[in-house]
């Protein structure tokens, strides 16, 4: 059988984000892979050094659309560490609520993409419609469908009135039944199963070797979640499960994401019940001394790490972040070989890649 190389990308591999692969194939089977990154470098790390601490709240939120809340969230946590700011308790809960709402929408989006890639477009539409419940919720509570702009230095800049709490309860209730239905389909439907089971295997040892994070790690049997390992905001006051699957394939990663939506609903419900009264944000303009800090959070795609250094002015001296996709895309080198060419987009989408934040 002849071996040849096919270029995949840089446009439209799974999502409409540029990523370029040179795939070596033998007949229909993938034998090797080259990943070329760097197509959407926007110079964000430089831009943040040209913006003051406030402007960077907005700028970091635009690193990535699907994990958008985690960036300003983690950035604010780093700043607050340097300045020694204690945020009000209510704000901690509100931050968790915002983050979990984003997680639901993000994971539903990835589940929908999976359906689209395997040609199950009616399921794709259906899942996107379920996601629409979340989009409407975000728009009603935060004022925007994607970038919530929930965080500010020392707290959050939104509040939940009793009326909004009721509304949010109602909206997440509306998600439960359709969610159960689609989880059943993703796990048991024979067409979905035929395309996802045993595809894009990342064995546990390899997952550890590559240091993958988020649902990619948890789909390969690794019980790692920042929310539990090093709790931040109100996560230490909430009881929830970290869902781990041992299938190590595309299907396992999809199941993890779907189960995490259910867990997110559980987390939001607990937060709404426990939500303490009080202010949502510090009531002074903070002074940020010179210093450095590392903050991390569990984004929908996995562990997100921020490193921030300040020099006493209100412009950061350095801000660097390590995003989950950076760890996860290398593992494609393990997932791809042995699979069919037609599975390339499916495997790529199974790591839920975010190129815009990885290449920033």
């Amino acid at each position: 059988m002849s071996t040849y190389t096919i270029p995949v990308g840089p446009l439209h591999v799974a999502l409409e984000e540029p990523m370029y692969f040179r795939v070596q194939v033998e007949g229909e089977t993938i034998v090797g892979l080259d990943i070329t990154a760097g197509h959407v470098h926007r110079g964000m790390e430089f831009l943040v050094m040209r913006r003051n601490i406030y402007q960077n709240i907005t700028l970091t939120e635009r690193l990535c659309s699907l994990c958008s809340n985690n960036h300003p969230f983690t950035y604010c946590m780093a700043l607050e560490k340097i300045a020694g700011i204690e945020i009000p308790e209510r704000a901690e809960y509100l931050r968790v609520i915002a983050d979990e709402i984003k997680r639901i929408a993000s994971n539903l989006f990835n589940a929908a993409m999976l359906a689209h890639i395997i040609g199950f477009d009616s399921l794709f539409m259906h899942v996107m419609e379920i996601r629409e419940i979340v989009q409407d919720t975000k728009e009603t509570i935060y004022g925007n469908r994607m970038d919530l702009a929930a965080n500010c230095i020392g707290g959050v800049k939104y509040d939940l009135s009793d009326e909004k709490i009721k509304y949010l309860m109602k909206q997440i209730d509306r998600l439960k039944k359709p969610l159960e239905e689609i989880i059943d389909i993703y796990i048991n439907n024979k067409f979905v199963r035929a395309r996802t089971e045993g595809v894009g295997i990342l064995p546990k040892e390899e997952a550890i070797r590559y240091g993958v994070v988020g649902p990619v790690a948890r789909g390969s049997g690794i019980d790692y979640d920042v929310r539990v390992k090093s709790p931040y905001a109100a996560y230490d006051k909430i009881k929830f499960n970290v869902h781990v699957e041992n299938g190590c394939d595309v299907r396992a990663r999809a199941i993890v994401r779907l189960r995490e939506i259910q867990e997110a609903i559980n987390i939001i419900e607990q937060c709404l019940k426990k939500l303490p009264n009080g202010p949502t944000c510090i009531d002074y303009l903070p002074e940020i001394p010179a210093g450095e800090a590392v903050a991390k959070s569990e984004a929908p795609r996995g562990e997100l790490i921020y490193y921030l250094r300040t020099n006493g002015t209100d412009m950061p001296e350095r801000l660097k972040w390590r995003v989950p996709t950076y760890m996860n895309w290398e593992a494609l080198n393990v997932m791809m070989p042995g699979n069919k060419v037609s599975d390339i987009p499916l495997i790529i989408s199974s790591i839920d890649p975010c190129i815009s934040c990885t290449e920033r």
Partner: protein
């Protein structure tokens, strides 16, 4: 179970779930972050909005004849983040629920929100100053009495002198 057919039929019976926009109404929740509205009367020219705006959509400049300050906001540069409103002490800058931002290409540089803060003269020494908005007094004091109201018309220097007397 696990067949999609039931769901597909249910969805079919439900009919389209898209809004008929622009020919009909669409979902606009209260609190949507849309086009900015600026109220020069309530503005105290603290420039915090200008400072926090990531895109640099806001500019506050003294006009050529030095009669006051001009506020300009480029709608096309605004990212609807709401930071300006959050940090504005008097809420002179607000995001409205108006999301209609379509305009002609030739109008793109004129597509702005403008305001003018005319300097007033200090009641004592006549130095031109930014008028102190009533809204600011409400932020600073629980109750605005006559004395405080009088101080409103003095420049910072005269105010200081009055306070020390």
């Amino acid at each position: 179970m696990s067949s999609f057919l039931k769901i597909a039929i249910r969805n079919l019976l439900k009919g389209p779930s898209t809004d008929p926009y622009p020919f009909g109404e669409t979902f606009v929740p209260k609190g949507l972050r849309g086009k900015i509205k600026y109220n020069a009367k309530a503005c105290v020219a603290c420039r915090m909005c200008e400072h926090v705006c990531a895109g640099g959509a806001i500019q506050i400049r003294e006009v050529a004849d030095k009669s006051g300050l001009e506020f300009i906001l480029w709608h096309n540069t605004c990212a609807f983040c709401g930071l300006c409103e959050h940090y504005c002490p008097t809420k002179a800058i607000r995001l409205t629920e108006d999301y209609h931002t379509a305009h002609r290409q030739e109008d793109k540089y004129r597509y702005v929100e403008k305001g003018f803060i005319k300097y007033v003269n200090c009641a004592r020494c006549a130095t031109p100053m930014v008028p102190i908005a009533f809204e600011l007094l409400n932020v600073a004091h629980d109750q605005v009495n006559e004395d405080i109201e009088k101080l409103r018309h003095l420049c910072p220097k005269c105010r200081q002198e009055r306070a020390l007397r």
